[in-house]
């Protein structure tokens, strides 16, 4: 019999609903995977065996009575430990938080309503402040493909757990690339929705103006189901916009013939590792085979967008952490503290200018890039996957970390939706992803293109071998 943990989220949800297998069986299979993988990846900060199995049994009982609660009924998930759950202590990857949450994050409440089961809490970079998966307090998260390599961050555990088939899907947060980067490094799909598509209420902030919540999953179809459950306005998050949520799953199989995909010729995007460039080129050929029209395009200069994004993010993080930094500076990792502290010294005028530039820059990109194409095709990361040691804050070559966020920050600043989709494996066996970027609220188109690409390729079906 197929190991149920190897099923996609969509197949699992459909199978449970059709009573081909039970939620309890799937949950058991995932818990077995966690047992096998945890010491090799440290993806989980906590596993709730008993609670998960009880919830699965309840889901099965409801299903027998024809009372399945939603599209994710009985499906086991786990999430970055940044989302509040009432009466539960959420670590945010730090030892500082010491009080249980008083309420449940909107996204978790929506997943609950859709019938999902939660297996535990996933590792992350401290206060969502890194891209490498290091965590000095709970231990580094490791990449299931090669444990010495970075899993990416800050949603490190989310990507590692999905890649190793410990969970069917996971939520992460993406301020400057924290969903897309780990998706690239671990070989899973990661979607950063449009700013305002998904409520952040109850998710501990990194930078209010930039934070988004997004799914990590094995397939675009799985990501579509997760997005369907969590998207939409929320009176508890004033930034969660009243924009209609389309049926993401039903649109997945529409032909993409005629859709124009922009391929930038700027050195900024093309000066990348030859192996990754080759994988990206092959992925473009697949999109072309599907009927997409590849358009070589000159983009506005992306370089200032990262600086502008950080000029917004750093003071917001400094404001958020002001009391803790003053009271408990020694409880931060030095590199995380320094990144937060730098926000204290950015003049208010610069912060305001960066926020003013956001609209100006978005208009420039919409007028000069997205008037010619519907999607952009870009790298997520442009170098071979570094080791954890190379990227350690105190390691021998911290310069390795320079490329982190290079291709993700610009689109976070612009607030545009973007998706990381696995496109194969580098020479050293590590996965790589393409990044597709769309117009505001074009998540359906991103998922549609990613789904058709995955149907043609099958990279998403490859999983890291179970540890011996």
């Amino acid at each position: 019999m197929t190991d149920l943990a190897e099923l996609t989220l969509a197949a699992t949800a459909d199978g449970i609903r059709a009573r081909k297998f039970s939620s309890w069986e799937v949950t058991q299979a995932c818990l077995a995977r966690i047992s096998a993988w945890q010491k090799h990846t440290n993806a989980f900060l906590a596993v709730d065996h008993g609670g998960a199995l009880k919830a699965a049994a309840r889901a099965d009982a409801l299903n027998v009575r024809g009372a399945a609660s939603g599209v994710l009924h009985g499906v086991p998930l786990a999430h970055k430990d940044i989302f509040g759950r009432a009466n539960t202590l959420v670590s945010i990857g730090s030892k500082i938080p010491d009080k249980p949450s008083t309420e449940t994050a909107t996204v978790l409440a929506r997943l609950d309503a859709a019938g999902a089961i939660e297996l535990g809490a996933l590792n992350m970079d401290e206060f969502a402040g890194g891209f490498s998966g290091h965590n000095a307090h709970f231990g580094d998260c490791r990449n299931p493909w090669k444990p010495d390599r970075v899993p990416g961050g800050s949603s490190s555990g989310s990507a590692a757990a999905v890649a190793a088939r410990m969970v069917m899907g996971a939520l992460g947060t993406d301020t400057g690339g924290s969903v897309r980067m780990p998706a690239h490094f671990c070989g899973v799909v990661g979607l950063r929705p449009t700013y305002g598509r998904v409520s952040r209420h109850g998710a501990f902030p990194r930078a209010w103006s930039l934070d988004t919540v997004g799914p990590l999953a094995r397939t675009a179809e799985d990501a579509a189901l997760l997005l369907q459950a969590i998207a939409g306005e929320d009176p508890l998050d004033s930034a969660a916009e009243n924009v209609a949520v389309v049926d993401y799953r039903s649109g997945l199989t529409q032909p993409i013939a005629g859709i124009r995909v922009g391929v930038p010729k700027d050195v900024y995007f093309t000066s990348i590792d030859a192996g990754i460039a080759s994988l990206l080129e092959a992925s473009r050929a697949v999109l072309a085979k599907l009927g997409a029209v590849l358009v070589e395009i000159e983009l506005p200069d992306p370089e200032p967008l990262t600086a502008l994004g950080l000029t917004v993010a750093r003071p917001e993080a400094a404001s958020l952490h002001f009391d803790w930094i003053a009271a408990r500076p020694g409880d931060y990792s030095p590199s995380i503290r320094e990144a937060i502290e730098s926000g204290f010294y950015i003049p208010a005028t610069r912060y305001i200018d960066a926020l003013r530039q956001r609209g100006v820059m978005l208009k420039r990109w919409l007028d000069t890039a997205f008037d010619k194409v519907e999607l952009l095709h870009l790298p997520v990361f442009g170098s071979p996957t570094p080791t954890l040691a190379e990227c350690a804050p105190t390691g021998p070559s911290p310069a390795t970390a320079v490329g982190f966020g290079r291709f993700t920050w610009p689109f976070a600043f612009l607030g545009l939706p973007s998706i990381a989709v696995p496109v194969g494996f580098q020479q050293d066996g590590m996965p790589a992803a393409m990044q597709l970027v769309g117009r505001p609220f074009a998540e359906a188109m991103l998922l549609n293109a990613a789904h058709l690409y995955q149907r043609e390729t099958g990279w998403h079906q490859k999983a890291p071998p179970l540890p011996k």
Binding site: F344, G359, G438
Partner: protein
């Protein structure tokens, strides 16, 4: 006021602000590192140029995000 003001603070300014404004102790190496990073941000901001005077923080950005209808899979 010159276009390039206020520029990124020097390491000495960072150290002074840390102490005077926030009561934080920064060693020279960290102050230097932070100042270098802020200078990189400043260079990026300078490259973007000045936004028009009538652009308020956040307003145009949100207006543009919401300018279109929700986009289905084939909406161009």
């Amino acid at each position: 006021m010159p276009q390039n003001k206020p520029g990124a603070p020097s390491a000495a300014s960072v150290k002074a602000m840390a102490s005077e404004l926030y009561g934080l102790a920064l060693d020279d190496a960290r102050a230097k590192h932070i100042a270098a990073e802020l200078a990189r941000f400043e260079a990026g901001i300078a490259a973007a140029g000045r936004p028009p005077a009538d652009v308020a923080p956040g307003a145009l950005f949100r207006q543009l995000l919401l300018a279109g209808e929700p986009q289905g899979p084939r909406r161009a």
